[in-house]
């Protein structure tokens, strides 16, 4: 996550913001500066994740705020995700069908392959990428605005921890709703794909909707991915929001970075969990 176009310094310890002069002064510093910035970035994300999980384990969860976030992240994204997955499901089936027909004349296993591909890869990953654009940007903009208008400091003065109030509800809602929306995405893409297969390739519904290639391992990989993505989006976006510096321009950078860095986090997690999935639960 080194896409850092802005000149903003970032402070990672929420309890003690530290602004450092990160202008390289020597050749060695110049060469190691990006690595150092990346390391600090990772440490900041890890610290925020640790503090948030600690707060959840200690029961410091604001129910009202969590329900509001569940609604905002979940219900607010349903239509957006549904439309995306309808289009994706249809395109995927048509493209895969056309490619397959170049090699094989029959498509009886097209549905089985598509369902496995959706479960292992496309349903959770595309759903999370869509959520990163909508939810990640919203989280960073909201928290970033609170930071630059001193509302986060006002929270601390009121005896409330910003992590408890701002990050915990978003992490819980992010994980639960990414999980739910991933399964919804699978269902919707499957429905749309079935329609496309039927109209484009004259495939019967019973032939296309074939779960023979999908086993418990696929659902486990899908669930793991959804949980990891659902945690990554709010943590990355909240961290970008909490380290906002420099007024409205800073909020703009925080929002952009939240989307870019959340997307990169999703892709990296996809790589790691896909490799893990293929080793731990080899596909049928």
């Amino acid at each position: 996550m080194t896409i850092q176009a802005q000149p903003l310094t970032q402070h990672h310890d929420l309890e003690d913001p530290v602004h450092e002069d990160d202008r390289p002064r020597t050749l060695v510093q110049t060469m190691t500066a990006p690595l150092s910035a990346f390391g600090q970035d990772m440490y900041g994300l890890w610290t925020l994740l640790r503090q948030t999980v600690q707060a959840i384990l200690q029961g410091r969860v604001d129910r009202e705020s969590t329900f509001a976030q569940l609604y905002s992240i979940g219900n607010g994204s349903v239509l957006f995700i549904t439309v995306t997955m309808i289009v994706l499901g249809m395109i995927l089936v048509v493209q895969a069908g056309m490619q397959t027909q170049r090699v094989l004349p029959e498509l009886s296993l097209l549905g089985a392959n598509i369902i496995q591909l959706l479960a292992r890869e496309f349903a959770p990953t595309v759903c999370a990428m869509m959520l990163a654009t909508r939810v990640g940007a919203g989280i960073a903009a909201e928290i970033g605005s609170m930071v630059v208008t001193d509302q986060v400091d006002a929270l601390r003065m009121s005896g409330a921890q910003p992590v408890d109030y701002l990050v915990v509800p978003r992490l819980i809602a992010g994980v639960l709703m990414t999980l739910a929306l991933s399964f919804w995405s699978l269902f919707i893409a499957l429905m749309a794909g079935t329609f496309a297969a039927n109209t484009q390739f004259d495939l019967n519904i019973s032939t296309f909707v074939n779960f023979s290639f999908v086993n418990m391992g696929d659902y486990i990989v899908m669930t793991l991915k959804a949980i990891a993505y659902g945690a990554a989006i709010p943590i990355v976006s909240s961290q970008r929001g909490l380290t906002t510096f420099g007024g409205s321009e800073g909020v703009g950078w925080a929002t952009t970075n939240a989307v870019v860095h959340s997307s990169i986090a999703i892709i990296l997690l996809d790589l790691i969990l896909s490799v893990f999935g293929y080793i731990a639960f080899p596909p049928v």
Partner: protein, 248 residues
């Protein structure tokens, strides 16, 4: 002295904002910190409640060094030392009474119901009771500021830090805020540190004034000291002249 900033240094990147600031604030006084924009006035008072940490130097509050306390150890400090922020900083998602009730719930552990009852009482004191259920976005700047002051005073603090309390207010609302700050000192013995550019406020209610310039305390004294000073930089600030020796 209940509050003592001792040789305080703070830098943001290459900008060395505070370069050895020494200020002592007396009990019950209304102490003003003045200076040009970006000179570090807000930065200075944020150090007192641990919202910023100094690069070096010490801060004493009632004899206790507070600049290196951990977040949890700062709770008692923030309980007796409230802060009214420049932009009111009410929480948009909460109604006015919920904003005022928040410190009661967090610092005093009150139930939501009790905190809301106490919050309504506190809003009555600043004549904002009828706006209990309103949200901050529905109110004007002056009203938001009064609610922010009610929130700051809800824990009956010994010390109140005001960050530009009259900025953006009409003259009448500004003088009302001045009067409130003065009453806090005179009637309740509250020690106030006020960061301000407002010359009317400064020369109406300040007991003592410190002017920050280029990271140092340029002058510290009473209203009369500032009126009669021969320091050209202080003179320029006090008279509000556009041309002069002051580098802004």
């Amino acid at each position: 002295m209940p509050i003592h900033f001792k040789n305080l240094h703070k830098a943001f990147g290459p900008k060395h904002v505070l370069q050895g600031v020494d200020i002592e604030v007396r009990d019950g006084e209304c102490f003003f910190v003045i200076g040009a924009s970006g000179v570090g006035k807000s930065v200075l008072i944020k150090h007192l409640v641990g919202l910023l940490r100094p690069d070096s130097g010490d801060i004493y509050l009632d004899g206790e060094e507070v600049s290196r306390l951990e977040e949890k150890a700062l709770y008692p400090v923030r309980k007796k030392c409230a802060m009214v922020f420049q932009n009111s900083t009410l929480f948009d998602s909460m109604s006015c009474v919920e904003n005022v009730a928040l410190p009661l719930r967090m610092h005093k552990g009150m139930s939501m119901k009790d905190a809301l009852i106490e919050g309504e009482r506190r809003l009555e004191q600043v004549h904002m009771h009828e706006f209990c259920k309103a949200f901050p976005a529905e109110l004007g700047d002056g009203m938001r500021k009064r609610i922010a002051i009610a929130r700051a005073l809800t824990l009956d603090p010994q010390y109140v830090l005001f960050d530009e309390p009259t900025t953006g207010l009409d003259p009448i609302s500004a003088r009302r805020v001045d009067k409130l700050i003065q009453e806090l000192s005179k009637n309740f013995g509250v020690t106030s540190i006020v960061v301000s550019h407002d010359l009317t406020s400064i020369f109406t209610i300040a007991d003592r004034i410190a002017m920050l310039y280029q990271g140092h305390v340029r002058m510290l004294g009473t209203q009369n000291d500032f009126r009669s000073t021969q320091d050209p930089i202080v003179q320029q600030f006090v008279t509000g002249e556009a041309e002069g020796p002051m580098e802004v």
